[in-house]
Symmetry: C2
Subunit: 218 residues, 2 copies
């Protein structure tokens, strides 16, 4: 993409949080909110909130604050939540199952087109009404079907090969739960979720005192 002005990923990653908080406010019939009040709820500074939102235009009004419903609806559009997405899941293990069964994703516009697996016992059965197909047919399927998002839930050993097939098949984005790091390219955007990394970060936080004592505070 050749825009001079892109919005930083750090800002983008905070938008879903705004969306969640504004949704809570709407549920509680709050119609307007100052950046100061919103910042308290979100554990951020009012200036950060103003700066974040100013990336996308002028949503607030001095002395009035933000119209909750309007801001909610704009962020909904910015996050692409006013659309539906054709999604395939590759890997019908426990995580694949959890994703297929997580009703929240369907509320967010996800429409599952198919699941793929190597396990002959699983092929032909369904998860949440979606058929598990033979992974051998993944390439063919992608030739015939337009897919927005591929969710990769395969083991590390097959992650690179599956990613290759998916990218070759013209899938525009990958939600990657494998331990393999995939990079954004001009054709494919990626969101890596490394659950093991998150767990290790928690371990670190848990042991921080000991680690600082041993390694840092010398």
């Amino acid at each position: 993409m050749d825009y001079d002005k892109k919005v930083s990923l750090a800002v983008i990653k905070r938008l879903p949080k705004y969306y969640r908080y504004l949704g809570d406010l709407l549920d509680n019939n709050v119609t307007r909110i100052s950046s100061k009040e919103l910042s308290k709820k979100m554990n951020a500074t009012p200036s950060q909130i103003r700066q974040d939102l100013n990336n996308f235009g002028c949503f607030g009004q001095q002395g009035y604050g933000y119209d909750v419903s309007l801001l909610y609806s704009e962020i909904k559009t910015i996050l692409g939540l006013d659309k539906t997405y054709s999604v395939i899941v590759v890997g019908a293990g426990n995580l694949g199952n959890a994703i297929l069964n997580y009703t929240q994703f369907q509320k967010r516009g996800v429409s599952f087109a198919a699941i793929f697996d190597t396990d002959a016992q699983k092929i032909g059965t369904t998860i949440n009404g979606v058929e598990i197909k033979d992974i051998k047919n993944l390439g063919n399927f992608l030739e015939q079907t337009s897919v927005d998002i591929a969710v990769l839930c395969v083991p590390k050993s097959s992650a690179a090969e599956v990613a290759k097939v998916v990218i070759k098949g013209g899938v525009k984005s990958i939600w990657n739960f494998t331990p393999l790091d995939l990079e954004n390219t001009k054709d494919v955007v990626v969101e890596n979720v490394h659950l093991s990394d998150s767990l290790m970060t928690l371990f670190y936080k848990l042991n921080e005192g000991f680690i600082l004592e041993r390694y840092v505070k010398k």
Copy 2:
């Protein structure tokens, strides 16, 4: 914690990636590596890698680079992967199931002590050999058992209440998969994993051209 010098969370969050890459190198019998070579593999700059690692001491040697096995073992210690952790999972739904069945976590030192749920049909049964207990007994269980980590996989509606019981029960850290944002306190460290937020970030990336056109490039 009252250390003058703490290591920034951004650095901590990169350590698991170093650990994974060094593990791959070991698997391929690579015994030493320069920060330049390591940086290429990790898609970072050599200077960032040196700065990150220098937080914890002097692991590299000018002209020699890093001893892969030594660095791997030090990062393993820093990430607390030389210990075992007593872990409970609250919520035996699809995600709870996936976490209980993810063998990777047990390799990382996780020992599941119990699962808790509200569903009478599930209570008394097991997942991967771990018993599902009645969530009513969570408080009592925590009085009698030392738990390092509570994994929260409950719906949003019960997240705050469950977090309260867990914190009151003296659990030192929370791996939070609920939509509720939990903050680190002096007693409890938290790692929030908001899968929906990650999905929305992917939606944004997918629609970035349209969004920049509509909101930013005015």
